[in-house]
């Protein structure tokens, strides 16, 4: 198995990082710095109707968002979240922390920790539920979407008449998305998108990484059905994604498709697939009635997410009090794709009812 770890030697990385910081702060000395602080958060209510029935009223993710400009070319962006970790404790996470150098027209070099631009959802919504079309992220986020990467990124946006965009990034792998274990594993992401109109965006991306220890993979940002990976051996991971997004005055459509292939010496190659579809109809400007269908299947010999199959049906309604406050209510029905008891990973069917209030200040 090929391993592409340690391609960032200290001799290469450290001088680049220090040069970048030096460039930023020497430029900032010559101009007035401007900064902007926002806060986002949400409150959840959920009832689960399964073998056991329960209801929760909980404080969701709360976050601080900082956007600052050192000068015309250099900017800083930080996103920090606070999550309930049980027994009155809260966990602080750095979700995005990046320095951006706009070197030519709409082309930029970005360094730091950012959301991996593998699909529309991860490149546009981040952690603020205020912008989510449905209460939860698609199922694929709970299984294999690498939400964050720490590294370097070349970005272009709104290029030419047809508003093309690209992202090319090299950074940490799934086992080291944060500040520890950085550069132990490497991931490469290439993404392109096209915006034929202001309301529409098509995107395609490819992502690949190799991990020494698949149990360390950090991608648990889903709808709450994430399971720990017991396999701690090496694993190759390759992924392709396609997104179609249309958010018009009346109709809203989002489709996220994801396919990945994992390879281990133990069980060989496994093909895994997921698709999320959202359709919303806006009426009286601030009301959206929506429906969604989410499906995920991972192969029997997969050692990254383990065999899993799930379908989710969504029916919901959103009311936007303002651009900074909205309420969503949705009914969800979960079931397995294979309901014939031949798959021992079947976790049965259930209904969920959820209400979420999201805000931004």
């Amino acid at each position: 198995m090929k391993q592409n770890k340690n391609i960032f030697g200290n001799q290469i990385v450290k001088p680049i990082i220090w040069s970048f910081f030096l460039l930023v702060f020497s430029n900032s000395l010559h101009s007035q710095m401007s900064a902007r602080l926002n806060a986002y958060g949400h409150i959840n209510f959920e009832s689960v109707f399964s073998d056991t029935t329960y209801s929760n009223f909980s404080l969701g993710e709360q976050e601080l968002f900082i956007n600052a400009k050192f000068n015309d070319n250099f900017s800083f962006l930080g996103e920090i979240t606070l999550n309930y970790a049980g027994h009155g404790n809260y966990r602080l996470n750095i979700e995005r922390l990046r320095l951006k150098y706009n070197y030519y027209k709409n082309h930029s070099l970005i360094m730091g920790k950012f959301h991996t631009p593998v699909n529309y959802w991860n490149d546009v919504y981040y952690h603020a539920r205020l912008f989510f079309p449905t209460i939860d992220r698609p199922l694929m986020f709970s299984k294999w979407i690498p939400v964050h990467t720490f590294g370097m990124r070349l970005q272009g946006q709104n290029i030419g008449k047809n508003n093309f965009g690209y992202d090319l990034l090299i950074g940490s792998g799934m086992g080291s998305e944060d500040i520890h274990n950085v550069f132990k594993e490497t991931s490469i992401t290439a993404a392109v998108h096209w915006k034929p109109t202001d309301e529409m965006r098509f995107g395609f991306s490819g992502y690949l990484t190799s991990m020494d220890d698949a149990s360390m993979a950090a991608h648990s940002h889903g709808g709450g059905e994430h399971e720990m990976n017991m396999y701690s051996g090496p694993l190759d991971f390759q992924m392709l994604n396609a997104s179609i997004a249309y958010f018009g005055e009346k109709w809203e459509i989002l489709n996220e498709f994801s396919f990945n292939r994992t390879k281990t010496d133990t069980l060989g190659v496994s093909n895994n697939i997921s698709n999320y579809t959202y359709v919303g109809r806006r009426f009286l400007e601030k009301n959206v009635a929506f429906t969604g269908f989410d499906v995920l299947y991972s192969g029997e010999n997969d050692l990254h997410t383990y065999p899993y199959d799930r379908m989710k049906f969504i029916l919901g309604y959103k009311y936007e009090y303002s651009e900074r406050l909205n309420v969503k209510a949705q009914i969800e029905y979960y079931t397995n794709i294979y309901d014939d008891h031949t798959h021992d990973h079947s976790i049965g069917s259930k209904y969920e009812f959820k209400i979420q209030m999201s805000y931004g200040l």
Partner: protein, 148 residues
């Protein structure tokens, strides 16, 4: 293959939102003037100027940073201006910009309650643009002509 895909997408777009595409309003039809300070251009097409207002470009041809100034909710013509520039309501414009800023793609625009405030802001900030009514007292050197 590429052309076929493009035509299919355009047809799909019309099916989904054909009416809205035909309801574009042009700045030339109204008593509006576009103003800008040290943008490096005195004449620009309407399509291009609207793209600057939508945050599609970060810099002007002279490398100055683009600073967008818009009418606030207290401005008496806010809905009209929002429709002219974005073909959207002011509520939709705020949502559009709020999301762009959170994505880290653009700097937030500045909002003002009157044409006079918009003119003053543009006058003081190189790279700033806004639209105001022609009847407002606008210094000649701030005006950007539309060439279509």
């Amino acid at each position: 293959m590429v052309y076929r895909l493009r035509y299919t997408l355009i047809i799909l777009l019309f099916l989904v939102n054909g009416y809205d595409l035909n309801s574009q309003i042009t700045l030339n039809d109204f008593s509006i003037v576009v103003i800008g300070n040290n943008t490096g251009t005195k004449k620009m097409s309407e399509t291009t100027i609207k793209q600057y207002f939508k945050g599609k470009y970060n810099k002007w041809p002279n490398k100055k940073r683009v600073i967008v100034a818009l009418a606030s909710s207290k401005h008496p013509k806010v809905e009209w201006y929002s429709n002219l520039l974005f073909n959207k309501s002011f509520f939709a414009v705020k949502k559009y910009w709020y999301s762009l800023v959170f994505q880290g793609r653009n700097d937030a625009p500045y909002f003002f309650a009157s044409d006079q405030e918009l003119i003053e802001f543009v006058k003081l900030n190189p790279g700033a643009i806004a639209i105001v009514e022609k009847s407002s007292k606008v210094p000649e050197h701030l005006k950007i002509k539309l060439n279509e």
